[in-house]
Point group: C2
Chain length 334, copies 2
């Protein structure tokens, strides 16, 4: 190919335009919902350090893996995990097809709205509820069920759609990391197939970058069409020690940055911190009773106790939601 | 932001330059190792169709998922799966630490070079060999073991490094798909942690886009450092019905294109073909006894029998290696 002077000029112009665009992007504040403080500064310092070519801390883009817990880290989790509200709504919807639930626990109590009795059986009750509401259909049918629910369901306290109870400052961190060559993953105790239908739209994270708890599936022909059928059998619990295991299975390399909010995320943060080279670990600390919820060491949901001690001992970033975040949720959609 | 006429001019120039670059890219042959024939034409026609904006067959980039079997599809698999050669070399290397293997099957026969007796116990013998050679260490130690082996081991017939027994025409397909916005995944019966250490360098596929068979791992502190330890316990067999299940777990959406070479890939191809919109399924048929190996319906390794019938019935692409491929392997490195 011959390059003439006209093309040379075009190439030079192109380079100029791109450089100009890069300058504009750099000038805009990537974290507008963060107050200037230690938490914000630590994020920016880490990203700057690992993306600076020639720096001893430079990390090649392929290794810029960042993992995020979901419940309590990317969206709220009070007064109950949102997936549990989904299960409750499913129980109510399916009840007409299950007349036996009127007298069978934990469903009988659930349908009467008596949550305490329903969950008296502990993990076994919970598992029964999950299997009754999450299994039996194909993965594609379940995808539609979740999409339909999340499009209309409202949180009992805020009356907002659950997908509007995501943390605006964390959306900014996700976008900031991706703009700097990071690949962002969810690593959550929540159901992998409960998250995949909406996280791409809401967080910009595609289904293949979601790690979560799962039930088993089976390849099967249904009406002549091959599908994956969801079985009422646990496959994997992606919590505590399970989080590094899930990371190993799905990602196959140690993240260089990890974000969580509870003791359930501690092993993921430990695993991340222990790699060689620069590492970043962050805990979201729920300190804002007015705008969100305030809870930590004694909470049943999102308990943050050992994690808080280890973060202090190891110098991990701890976000004080009340003081570090200008906004909690994105603006309401009209 | 106000856009002045100077900026307008720059934007117009930018658009022109990009269009010009696209034309140049299109002009170069993306598949130089493929003879012009039905197989090659079907690949180009599919990619053109799904990437044409405004076409009824257009597929958004996020949904352009392509899955590839590894053994026999991306690299050779004769006279034995290459991972088995790795296991044999490991048995020899570990033998001094296991004096009991001198009299214990299947190791005793293996160490005498008597493969037939060693494998007389079928799957159980194979499993014992795998667990003895693939478990007990951390994932990072295993990564290094595989990297060290693959850097030096040579194939018994060709005397070439195993990573040079990859199929040049398939490397071109991988690159061609990625240049057209596809995300390429491996979905293999082989061990996920046996592939991850080298497939990024050789195929351009990062660890997080590898799906394979696996053993369980456990989060553990070793010398004060958190690691994942490989346990001698099967976790998942990514073969036959397992392939769509593995795709569901790791990718979470139906691929639109799938590439295989054996009946072990049939369910993956069926699952791919059954989605809505344009779909592409391809079988590599080993027909070249001179340059590679010729085998299909009666082979113990890479048996292609039902798949060949279904491909004919459904109009899937079948590559005739002997006639469709100009080259089999990349040029030898000096």
């Amino acid at each position: 190919m011959k390059i003439n002077s006209r093309q040379n000029f075009l190439v030079a112009t192109l380079v100029g335009v791109l450089a100009c665009a890069a300058t504009i992007a750099r000038a805009a504040d990537p974290l507008p919902s963060w107050n200037d403080g230690q938490a914000r500064q630590s994020i920016v310092a880490f990203v700057t350090k690992v993306t600076q070519p020639g720096s001893p801390d430079f990390v090649p883009p392929a290794e810029r893996i960042a993992t995020f817990d979901n419940d309590g880290t990317l969206w709220a989790e009070q007064p109950m995990y949102f997936q549990f509200f989904f299960a409750l709504d499913r129980v109510k919807m399916l009840a007409p097809q299950h007349p036996e639930w009127k007298t069978k626990e934990p469903f009988a109590s659930l349908l009467k709205g008596d949550m305490k009795s329903a969950l008296a059986g502990g993990d076994r009750s919970l598992l029964e509820i999950v299997m009754a509401t999450h299994a039996g259909m194909s993965t594609e049918e379940f995808d539609k069920i979740v999409k339909d629910w999340i499009a209309t369901a409202k949180h009992p306290v805020t009356k907002r759609p659950y997908t509007e109870m995501v943390y605006q400052p964390m959306l900014e961190v996700l976008a900031y990391l991706r703009a700097n060559g990071f690949k962002t993953f969810i690593v959550s105790g929540g159901g992998i197939e409960f998250m995949r239908p909406w996280v791409e739209r809401v967080y910009g994270i595609p289904p293949e970058q979601v790690v979560g708890s799962s039930i088993k599936t089976k390849f099967e022909m249904r009406n002549g069409k091959p599908v994956l059928v969801r079985l009422p059998e646990l496959n994997f619990i992606d919590d505590k020690e399970g989080k590094p295991v899930g990371i190993g299975q799905h990602i196959g390399r140690r993240p260089i940055a990890a974000f969580g909010n509870s003791d359930g995320d501690l092993q993921m943060l430990q695993y991340t911190a222990a790699g060689s080279g620069p590492r970043f670990c962050l805990y979201v600390h729920h300190t804002d009773a007015a705008r969100e919820w305030a809870y930590d060491r004694k909470s049943h949901i999102g308990k943050l106790d050992k994690g808080l001690d280890e973060a202090a001992a190891k110098g991990w970033t701890v976000v004080d939601m009340k003081n570090d975040w200008k906004n909690i949720y994105p603006p309401e959609r009209k």
